[in-house]
């Protein structure tokens, strides 16, 4: 066990630092309040790709530098020190393109991997549907063969909770191709051109005020059979690749203890100074050990990866810990602010109203990418090997599964 870089790692870090210092934007480059543009994001991604800092672990044949997972981690640590523009490529590079690399045709691999890696094309993932909820396999958006015998498919239906649909170039799409067989067996995966006029993207107005997600409507969208990813009816198996990547990618584990301590330092409770309040201090300790525990759990995963082992299931615990924790942190901070906690104006609220913002975003975190309840099920089933929930929809034709609607 060693927290210091090996000589090779130290060398890699030094090079990455030098490159970033020469190429990354600096704090002073930013006009206060100005949001980085999509063009800046694409330019930064292209620069990284050219220097071998995009998709560091991808093999050379796919345009990656073929680096190690520690190198990837080291670069991420160093990059985080700079005010680099936002990264709209995560879903494409983390989920969609790996799906194509695993299950797509050779032609698709050649066509899509490079441009995605260089930030030239952005991808979104279209699995969730309004009636599906936690059950991604319940997709009802239909694809039927065109009647003209061309082999083309005609797509109709609606997807929901699609991040980045409004600026994506392509999307991967899970579709119902056969409603007469059981749920998991009648699905097929496709890629689609998001700029097709048969696709309509409508932003979802979230309770937090933002609208990072979209509803996406398909009306007689026609796609070639060559846009199919994997065999007809094999879509669920293909989607597993995508979803596993999603659940590992989300997660995180922010540690808010510092800000809470900063807040508490200036606040009085009935019993005296907020920061001296034992109830708050015990909570800070509880939060701290959870955030630290997640941080070191990630390092354990990273170590397993670097040794060529499959990481243990510990990777799945990030979000189930972090999301409720953030909600609790925010609620506790507001209680400490007392009457004042209701103010969400960053001009007046302590720490630019960060806890008020967290309170309003936390419910979304507890749901997106798998609810608290689904994630516990996953841990119980995949990690501990406990039985699946009783399934009433297993050997039933999809069209006959009860929906309550």
């Amino acid at each position: 066990m060693d927290f210091n870089d090996t000589p090779e790692e130290a060398e890699y870090r030094a090079k990455a630092r030098a490159w970033l210092e020469a190429n990354a934007p600096k704090r002073e480059d930013h006009v206060r309040g100005e949001e980085p543009t999509m063009a800046e994001s694409k330019a930064w991604q292209a620069k990284k790709a050219a220097a071998g800092y995009s998709c560091i672990t991808w093999p050379k044949e796919w345009g990656g530098p073929g680096g190690t997972s520690w190198q990837s981690q080291i670069f991420a640590q160093e990059e985080a020190k700079y005010p680099v523009p936002g990264n709209p490529f995560t879903i494409g590079l983390g989920m969609c393109v790996p799906t194509i690399m695993t299950a797509g045709s050779e032609a698709d691999k050649v066509r899509f991997v490079g441009p995605a890696l260089r930030g030239e094309e952005i991808w979104c993932q279209l699995f969730s549907e309004p009636s599906g909820g936690s059950d991604a396999a319940a997709a009802r958006t239909r694809a039927v063969r065109a009647p003209d015998g061309s082999g083309d498919w005609i797509i109709n239906g609606q997807k929901v909770w699609t991040s980045g649909a409004q600026y994506s170039d392509f999307g991967i799409l899970l579709l119902r191709t056969d409603p007469d067989v059981p749920k998991h067996k009648g699905l097929t995966m496709f890629w689609v051109d998001m700029k097709d006029p048969a696709i309509e993207v409508r932003p979802i107005h979230q309770m937090s005020g933002g609208s990072g997600f979209n509803e996406v409507y398909f009306t007689d969208l026609r796609v070639k059979d060559s846009q199919r990813i994997g065999p007809v009816g094999d879509g669920w198996r293909v989607s597993i690749v995508t979803l596993m990547n999603e659940r590992n990618a989300i997660g995180g584990g922010s540690s808010y203890h510092r800000q809470v301590m900063q807040l508490a330092d200036g606040i009085s409770t009935l019993a005296g100074s907020g920061i001296k309040d034992a109830a708050l201090r015990e909570k800070i300790a509880d939060w701290y050990v959870q955030a630290e525990g997640l941080k070191y759990t990630r390092l354990r995963t990273q170590t397993a990866l670097s040794r060529g082992q499959t990481p243990g299931p510990e990777a799945s615990i990030g979000k189930v810990v972090t999301a409720p924790l953030m909600q609790d942190v925010a609620n506790t901070a507001l209680e400490l602010e007392d009457q004042f906690g209701i103010i969400s104006d960053p001009k007046y609220a302590p720490l630019q109203a960060m806890f008020q913002a967290t309170l309003m975003s936390a419910p979304g975190m507890r749901i997106a990418g798998g609810t608290d309840e689904i994630l516990r099920n996953i841990i119980a089933e995949r990690v501990l090997g406990l039985p699946q929930d009783v399934r009433l929809d297993k050997d039933v034709a999809f069209k006959d599964i009860p929906t309550g609607r």
Binding site: S128, V160, Y348
Partner: protein
């Protein structure tokens, strides 16, 4: 011995429910929430006034109905259930109770009839910054009947005609009645977690202030008001929490996942059972608070703290877990879950957070144990 509302009180409750079902849908709430220029629903306020609710506990001699506070509790539960976007609490549990507790005969005659008639909106202006209000936190000051300072957040301060303001004079904390429409008062509407209720930042520069109660009694008056408010707000919280549980239950029965209602999964069943348990405990604690309030029992400070702590817990849990039960759709602006989530925070903080009420509760226990 008898631990339930009377038949008359239950009739009042069912009438209030019918009235609010007709006059205060969630569309009414959204009418205020979605419109930055509106701090409350004026037609609803007038309709409620026409029912005489503002005067429920105001004596008949001052234009009220002269009923007990038990009846006010009944109405509070229904207002909370309906998420009514009106300045009822500030006016009726706040200003009216402050005047009833400490007002001179002249102050009572001047203000109570206007409150009972729905002509006057009130507010409590105690906070000036993050943390608990105390003698140390108050910088606003009065000299020669003129108030100088700043108060925020003042719930309903943007629409109130009169506020009870805590300020210092000659080193003592006093309560003052201040006409917010008068000279020397500036109001700025604040952005808050629950835009269906208004709040303001008030700046006073030589505003006319008339003392309420004796010199040095300011904090004591506010504590008495808060004890009463705590019980009444607990009923609002219980009303909202019960409705959140109903929403969650309805959704769990009708939403299917993996071929069966999500309400058939224990993760959801047990979540809703926990919600129910917290709501029942909160209701029972609120009932005891109602009794203590109505009879002005010596137990009131302890009963009020218990009612508030229990109601804050139930209200927050029901609001957040109702949203969670709804999944993704619950996180959208269009679904009503966030209205309850926002209001749970508003009600949980407006009379001071649960944290300070827990401290008060244990202080009361210590006193009782020592006695």
């Amino acid at each position: 011995m008898n631990f339930d509302f009377s038949d008359d009180q239950k009739f009042l409750k069912s009438e209030a429910r019918k009235f609010l079902d007709a006059h205060c849908s969630t569309a009414t709430v959204r009418g205020v929430l979605d419109n930055v220029d509106r701090s409350y629903d004026e037609p609803l306020w007038k309709a409620v006034a026409a029912q005489g609710w503002m005067g429920t506990a105001i004596p008949e001699e001052h234009g009220g109905l002269g009923l007990g506070r038990m009846e006010l509790c009944v109405i509070a539960e229904e207002l909370g259930r309906a998420l009514a976007p009106i300045p009822f609490a500030s006016t009726v549990y706040g200003l009216a109770e402050a005047v009833l507790i400490a007002g001179s005969p002249a102050q009572k005659s001047a203000l109570l009839p206007r409150i009972a008639a729905g002509e006057l909106i009130g507010a409590l202006a105690t906070s000036e910054g993050p943390g608990v209000v105390s003698a140390g936190s108050i910088k606003a000051s009065v000299a020669d009947g003129k108030l100088t300072g700043e108060k925020l957040p003042v719930t309903d301060g943007d629409v109130a005609g009169v506020a009870v303001v805590l300020a210092k004079e000659a080193g003592q904390v006093n309560a003052y009645l201040v006409d917010l429409t008068g000279a020397g008062v500036t109001r700025e509407t604040l952005q808050t977690l629950d835009p269906s209720r208004g709040a303001a930042r008030l700046t006073f520069k030589g505003a006319a202030a008339e003392r309420l109660g004796g010199a040095g009694e300011g904090l004591d008056i506010i504590e008495q008001v808060l004890n009463r408010m705590a019980v009444l707000l607990a009923f609002e919280q219980v009303g909202g929490a019960d409705r959140a549980l109903e929403m969650a239950k309805d959704y769990a029965l009708n939403r299917y996942a993996f071929g069966r209602p999500i309400g058939s999964y224990q993760a959801i069943k047990h979540k809703l059972a926990d919600m129910y348990v917290k709501n029942e405990l909160a209701r029972s604690n609120a009932y005891f608070g109602a009794w203590a309030l109505d009879t002005d029992a010596p137990e009131l400070p302890l009963a009020a703290a218990s009612a508030r702590v229990s109601a804050c817990e139930a209200s927050w849990y029901a609001a957040k877990e109702n949203l969670q039960t709804h999944g993704g759709i619950g996180f959208t602006w269009e679904m009503d879950c966030h209205l309850f989530y926002r209001r749970a925070q508003q009600l949980g903080l407006v009379a001071g957070g649960a944290k300070q009420w827990k401290e008060r509760l244990v202080t009361q226990l210590e006193r009782r144990n020592a006695a």
